[in-house]
């Protein structure tokens, strides 16, 4: 599964093409070389996430691991679970669950500004498209770190508040209608 998506190069003020592809050793090497030192020196909430370990766990076909690559560097990564979770908005209907999602440290808000914008949006839009492919109609669920709440609220995911079964992380879910709106404005609709 792969797709070509568009992200925004801030310095050049230019929309550029990026590839969304299954995670490979190259992406994990990027994580170890470029992401990890910056994350570990930061107070980012995901600074302890070990993508290399996450990707090395033998996974059933219910898991899909993706990387967003641009300029031959990994700009974002995401793990989806496509069978196990059920919707809270629509009583028990299937959905795609975003298990983990992170953008590269240099693409996050900072005093010097991000290198690329819209990496997170591209990853989420791709996850919505996967949900449509799997006939879940775009339904999407996830537990979010507090710093990411604003991002998911902006995308109009419904905030169900803290979930005691998941370290009190807030559970967010995307409705079919909002998913349809997001996809209709995306590259996936063209």
């Amino acid at each position: 599964m792969k797709a070509s998506v568009k992200i925004f190069h801030v310095k050049n003020q230019q929309v550029v093409n990026a590839d969304l592809i299954p995670i490979s050793d190259k992406h994990l090497a990027d994580f170890e070389t470029f992401w990890k030192p910056r994350l570990q020196a930061s107070d980012e909430q995901d600074s302890h996430w070990e993508w290399t370990k996450k990707a090395s766990v033998p996974r059933a076909p219910s898991y899909e691991l993706y990387a967003l690559e641009c300029d031959r560097i990994t700009q974002g990564m995401m793990i989806l679970e496509i069978d196990r979770y059920r919707s809270r908005l629509e009583n028990g209907r299937g959905l795609v669950y975003v298990d983990f999602l992170a953008v590269a440290p240099w693409n996050r808000p900072s005093p010097e500004g991000p290198m690329y914008k819209a990496v997170g949006t591209a990853l989420i839009t791709f996850a919505i498209q996967r949900s449509i492919d799997l006939e879940y109609k775009g339904r999407l669920g996830l537990h979010a770190l507090s710093k990411a709440h604003g991002f998911y609220k902006k995308l109009q995911l419904v905030d169900f508040g803290p979930d005691p079964s998941k370290q009190n992380l807030n559970y967010f879910e995307l409705s079919v209608k909002t998913a349809t709106d997001i996809i209709s404005k995306s590259d996936f609709s063209r």
Partner: protein, 69 residues
């Protein structure tokens, strides 16, 4: 998005009825139901091969039943 292959499948009337029922209940095509069932079965097989067991918990969470496959 990903390439799919068309196959023919022999199902008994009761199996077809079950597939139709699930398809209607979950508002998914029969193909999507079968694909999901296949993935779920692969998950179960993988976990069983690792020596794990599956339990179904009752609503009061007091009783659990081991599932054998």
């Amino acid at each position: 998005m990903n390439k799919k292959t068309l196959i023919s499948l022999n199902l008994s009337s009761s199996e077809l009825e079950l597939l139709t029922e699930l398809s209607e209940k979950k508002e998914m095509s029969k193909s999507a139901i079968l694909r999901q069932a296949l993935r779920m079965m692969a998950v179960l097989e993988q976990r069983i091969e690792q020596g794990e067991k599956f339990y179904v918990e009752s609503l009061d969470k007091e009783k659990s039943e081991v599932l054998l496959f």
